[in-house]
Symmetry: C2
Subunit: 337 residues, 2 copies
């Protein structure tokens, strides 16, 4: 794999991690207001990147945390949203339609608003109470979103007294870009293998559970469907045996992604089943990556970003064998809808 790309990755992500001081100050200010609950508001890829943190809060925190799809929030609403709420948003362009509407919606109800943005001087930057702008994302937008979220929410948990290992976690986070560059290199070989092997299939079942589910769901929809027009079904590991299993036969490709949290036995069960009942079976397991320099008791929390890095190395090889440019769209930014 291209060494220059990996060096750049490590450099740019390192730069991004320097935003931590800024992020801590925002959280300090927002929490000083004595707000009661936290809303993670995203759409498409950005809600997917928040799902792991919803899981972390569920396990680690007594805080009331709500992960909401922006389009649903502004139509249906949530009675817990109000002057006691801190609302967190992400946008690469700083100009996402539904996110702008959601920020207005939250502000009208008295909530404090924070945004993590990928562009300077954007409409969203002007709109929110607090924002961090990161201009070093380029083609690593999903990775960058994760680094930002890890900084924001680990500090939020720490400030609540629910994450005493914060300093250790940050030391590990600072070592993560190097470890993930190795993941990318290793996964690139898998991607090379993956792409041609399943070229003839235009339907792939993706399944995963726990804190990596959002990322796997997103990869199938935002990459395979949107960028390659490849049909997928994403099914949560907890639902797999409640319907989708009956589709499995020798001609149905199942991609199982395994992380390292407490839900791993659900994935193990699917693995045992698929090994018996289909020959077209791909497993991505975050445990297969060494993550050198990362402590054993911390590495599990990085599973979602490891999955991003690993699955992200399928796409370039798919592009090569399909000849379908990853940036080509039929509708998005081409027609009004």
């Amino acid at each position: 794999m291209d060494k220059k790309y990996l060096e750049e990755y490590v450099g740019k992500m390192g730069k991004l991690l320097e935003k931590r001081g800024e992020i801590e100050k925002i959280i300090d200010s927002a929490m000083a207001l004595g707000k009661k609950n936290l809303f993670l508001v995203g759409i498409g890829g950005t809600i997917a990147v928040m799902r792991p943190f919803e899981q972390f809060f569920k396990k680690m925190s007594d805080a009331q945390v709500y992960a909401e799809n922006a389009a649903m929030l502004i139509t249906t609403g949530n009675r817990h949203l109000g002057k006691d709420s801190v609302c967190f948003f992400m946008s690469d362009s700083g100009n996402t339609k539904e996110i702008i509407e959601a920020i207005h919606y939250c502000k009208e109800r008295g909530a404090v608003t924070i945004a993590s943005l990928g562009a300077e001087n954007s409409p969203i930057e002007k709109l929110v109470d607090y924002s961090v702008v990161n201009l070093n994302k380029d083609s690593y937008s999903s990775d960058a979103d994760y680094y930002m979220n890890y900084m924001f929410f680990s500090y939020y948990l720490y400030k609540r007294g629910e994450f005493p290992q914060y300093e250790k976690f940050i030391a590990n986070l600072n070592r993560l870009p190097v470890a993930l560059a190795q993941v990318k290199e290793q996964a690139d070989e898998q991607g090379k293998d993956y792409a041609p092997k399943y070229l003839d299939d235009n339907y792939h079942i993706f399944t995963a559970g726990g804190d990596i589910w959002g990322e796997v769901y997103c990869y199938a929809m935002c990459v395979l469907e949107e960028m390659q027009w490849i049909r997928t079904k994403s099914v949560h590991a907890a639902d797999f045996f409640h319907g989708t299993l009956e589709l499995v036969d020798d001609n149905t490709h199942v991609v199982l992604v395994k992380g390292e949290d407490e839900s791993r036995p659900l994935a193990d069960r699917i693995e045992a089943f698929c090994k018996k009942y289909t020959k077209k079976f791909t497993v991505y397991d975050t445990k297969d990556y060494a993550l050198e320099g990362i402590d054993k008791d911390i590495r599990g929390m990085f599973a979602p970003i490891v999955v991003t890095c690993a699955l992200g190395r399928i796409s370039p090889h798919l592009q090569e064998v399909t000849g379908h440019d990853l940036s080509y769209r039929r509708y998005y930014k081409k027609v009004e809808y």
Copy 2:
């Protein structure tokens, strides 16, 4: 459509609605304990049937309500679950493995447990603090689950002072079986049309938003995938334009289901798009059913069960044209997994 089936439906659902006194007593007892939050715990079809109520609570209530997949709850947990929780379960057989484990899990943490069951003298009946057994479900299990949930949760909201229209709602609920028999009759004609028309496609995109999403997700997975081995993709209406739209072409069948809640504009947007970009497009709209005898300001809340009745009339016709028996399985109850 078979008149006898419809008469039986009205009779049996009427019988089921007589359980209301029993249900109110259970809620009275559970709420007298001063519990703080409510967990709706299901798996596969039973969590899908709880999703609409999660939406209702979000809009109508200040209560902390968590809808949890049983398999995830017992692995990852939820810090809000404890002695201040009321946990609600459903099981047709009264013997669902994950539900039994989840009940143990909740009881060990001091929660009060309630179950709505489809069989007498079951392991779950013996395990929970409170249960209602309904033996009139037969082949209407999804419908029956809804009637039970409508009774449980409308009374719960009423007792919290958040549903003053309770009496009116119940009067409407009592008239619902007759109205839904008409829905089934009307939808049966649509189903007849649907089945052969899309027989050649082995891939259907299902999309819906708001309070009917859970039901649509469930129909695709628990009926088309499990009972007909037909490939599907279910995508929430709020996510449709964030990836899946790029799959749409003249050869891709999209099924849009429209309900009557605040999220309807999301469905309208998809409808306008699909009318332009695919010729294989099916719309199910709950507004197309008269629901005679049901008040205008109440009917919207019944959209999820209307969807069950409407989509449920595709399956028998699919069986006819595919020759694939709806009760036939490759794996479920045939092999160990």
